[in-house]
């Protein structure tokens, strides 16, 4: 019964108590601690941190537990906390070429300075259920400092085969912050990348995939994917040097795409960029595909596919509003529905009146519909008729 939706504080409190009980599972089994989640579900924690826009593995682990494994709920928890934190300033740009990669691969070169390094990856694992030894690899790596691993995009960039990091004369504009300033379309690329970094992995994966299947094709190559820890530093003008804040683990993807050029400018590969917290390769790759697709206008490409449409992509990529709005349909809407119900009844009443007056409605005047069956007691029972007649709206101005 609909009135059941009307609940007091007690109903809500009871629902939440039941939720907590469900989340506890079998009380005879030990409770999972946030430390265990942070340590053993690192990829999940990375996703919550990335889309929650907050690098804090402990808090993300807590959120995952409190949300009982509902990733989008966990992300919402982290976001709702993050938004109350004061912002002190920007860090310096992180230097991903300097990071000693735990993993670094390039699909565009067989070998390159610094070499290919597989690192911890699901790639090439057989997806069979198996218990694996967790002692780690044999320590046969050569001693000494790790080799320098310049970024592939820098290697290609020196020969001008690839578009540079910044367009000539771009300067160093203040980065926008879409969590603190109103978002208005069209966005700068920096703002777009922020939105994509917070964007839902599944949504971006689907959009990235759509570009590969021809809806806004960009002919991508995975120029470089690297995973590792980078130092985060903040400039302190009064000290005159940068102050390190700590290290964060990130995944970076440099996608190398379709070249551009014409009679006036030499041919050059274009780029898409993806960056995410923790181990999040799929997210970083999807992000870089969509980033490149959204740059269609920069390269004079026709905008024909969803992934190229900034307003479409950015307005719908964030899981927090998307999940909230879809799920808000659970809230009572009976006032609006009542209004619609009133109108539909009125329209039907007018339709019936016209039909009774021998109006244009010819289908309903066939023998089947005017037979005695139709006026039998089954169809004109007091219950049915009563409710249909109750809420006739008064005529205009009545």
């Amino acid at each position: 019964m609909y009135v059941a939706v009307k609940g007091g504080e007690r109903a809500i409190a009871n629902a939440h108590a039941l939720l907590a009980k469900e989340g506890r599972g079998d009380p005879r089994l030990p409770r999972i601690g946030p430390d265990a989640v942070a340590g053993q579900l690192g990829v999940l924690v990375a996703r919550v941190m990335t889309e929650g826009s907050l690098y804090d593995p402990d808090l993300a682990a807590r959120a995952i537990l409190q949300a009982q494994g509902d990733v989008l709920e966990a992300i919402t928890l982290v976001r709702s906390y993050r938004t109350t934190l004061p912002r002190f300033g920007y860090t310096l740009p992180v230097d991903t070429s300097g990071l000693p990669p735990q993993r670094r691969i390039s699909a565009t070169f067989k070998d390159l300075p610094g070499g290919q390094q597989l690192g911890a990856t699901f790639d090439y694992t057989h997806r069979l259920f198996a218990e694996r030894d967790t002692a780690g690899p044999r320590a046969d790596s050569p001693a000494g400092p790790p080799p320098a691993m310049p970024r592939v995009t820098d290697l290609l960039g020196t020969a001008s085969l690839l578009e540079p990091d910044n367009a000539p004369g771009a300067g160093d504009p203040e980065p926008a912050d879409l969590t603190r300033e109103p978002t208005v379309f069209p966005m700068t690329r920096a703002e777009r990348l922020q939105a994509l970094a917070r964007g839902d992995e599944g949504f971006l994966l689907g959009l990235g995939y759509s570009t590969q299947r021809g809806f806004g094709s960009t002919h991508p190559f995975a120029g470089e994917i690297r995973v590792g820890e980078v130092e985060v530093e903040v400039a302190a003008p009064e000290l005159g040097f940068a102050v390190p804040l700590g290290r964060i683990e990130i995944t970076e993807c440099q996608m190398i795409n379709q070249f551009k050029g014409n009679a006036d400018t030499p041919a050059q590969f274009t780029r898409g960029y993806g960056l995410a917290f923790g181990r999040a390769e799929r997210k970083a790759m999807s992000m870089s595909l969509v980033d490149r697709a959204l740059r269609a206008e920069d390269f004079g490409e026709r905008i024909v596919a969803p992934a190229q449409d900034e307003e479409f992509v950015i307005s719908h990529s964030d899981s927090v509003p998307a999940a909230g709005f879809v799920e808000h349909l659970k809230l009572p809407h009976h006032v609006d529905f009542q209004a619609e119900l009133g109108l539909v009844r009125r329209l039907r009443g007018e339709f019936d009146e016209r039909a009774a007056a021998g109006g244009a409605v010819s289908d309903n005047t066939g023998p089947d519909n005017t037979g005695p069956d139709n006026t039998g007691p089954d169809n004109t029972g007091p219950a049915g008729e009563g409710s249909a007649g109750e809420l006739m709206l008064a005529e205009a101005g009545a």
């Binding site: 504080e9 603190r180 329209l347």
Partner: protein, 298 residues
């Protein structure tokens, strides 16, 4: 709110954020009906569940305020209870269900039956701030249409309704023209409530959290529901009184009472209904007990 809360600022939002929202509100009041973009924050409830209204309320609420929260006109619907207890927890202000006692009324989908008074503020939760959105999906384009006051699309839509159905087929979120300049979405209140917006002595604030827009109608501002000379705006009306309190001229909820199509119609505004019942009881006890008939409408 169960469990201990970690430290949060009064009203949950930090002071910088409140200041940003208040600036957006000032601009909104200065340009009635104009949608002001603002940097909408996450709040601890899902987007689309009133986060815009919550941010507006959080930014204007002070110690002396008395807060009422309704959803579908009722104080006891779950989301209204949830938002009211949120503010009770993070602000400590007094809450009420009485429309005339409240200084701030946060609402979803209704305007109370009790007329609002000067000094009161009503905060609407808005899902879609753009009245032209379903006619033109692009924000860049609708902004341009507002700038040019080019509202032909909406009139064509209303005309097509009339051509197709014989009536304007919009029953809630019925578009209004504010101060003769901006077309505005009144939020999904039934068109029944639209006339209450016109020249209301109360300040009307609208928050759309997910869509990151704030707009406002200052007190005593013209709010005209769209229509044509030959097909004027027609607010919905009910031909029956409330089955509980007997009020007429109020918005009614249809409550299905059996599985044979039976239904009763009761006030959507629970505060109004309760007080009407109480008033009726008072007058009855005051007078002689003449016939204990319930005020069941025919």
């Amino acid at each position: 709110m169960n469990g201990a809360l970690t430290d949060y600022n009064i009203g949950y939002l930090d002071e910088q954020t409140k200041r940003m929202i208040r600036r957006a509100l000032l601009k909104a009041v200065a340009i009635p009906g104009f949608q002001v973009p603002f940097a909408s924050r996450e709040v601890p409830m899902p987007r689309g569940w009133g986060t815009g209204g919550v941010q507006v309320t959080a930014s204007i609420i002070g110690e002396d305020d008395v807060l009422k929260v309704i959803d579908q006109g009722a104080d006891d619907t779950t989301n209204a209870v949830s938002i009211r207890s949120f503010f009770a927890a993070v602000t400590g202000v007094r809450t009420t269900t009485r429309t005339d006692e409240a200084t701030i009324i946060q609402t979803r989908h209704r305007i109370p039956e009790t007329p609002l008074a000067a000094g009161q503020t009503i905060v609407y939760q808005v899902p879609g701030p753009e009245p032209l959105r379903f006619l033109e999906p692009r924000e860049t384009e609708t902004r341009r249409l507002h700038a040019l006051a080019d509202y032909g699309l909406m009139y064509v839509k209303l005309y097509e309704d009339i051509a197709r159905y014989g009536h304007i087929a919009t029953t809630y979120d019925y578009p209004v023209m504010v101060a003769g300049r901006y077309l505005m979405a009144p939020s999904p209140i039934p068109s029944f409530d639209n006339p209450k917006m016109h020249c209301s002595p109360a300040l009307q604030l609208f928050g759309a959290g997910r869509e990151k827009r704030i707009y406002a109608v200052p007190p005593y501002t013209d709010v005209e529901s769209l229509g044509f000379e030959d097909y004027p705006f027609e607010p919905q009306r009910f031909s029956r009184p409330c089955a509980i309190c007997g009020s007429v001229g109020v918005y009614l909820d249809e409550v299905i009472i059996d599985d044979a199509g039976g239904a009763m119609f009761v006030c959507s505004d629970t505060d109004h209904c309760e007080r009407a019942v109480a008033r009726a009881a008072e007058t009855k006890t005051g007078e002689t007990k003449a016939g204990e008939t319930k005020e069941v409408p025919a």
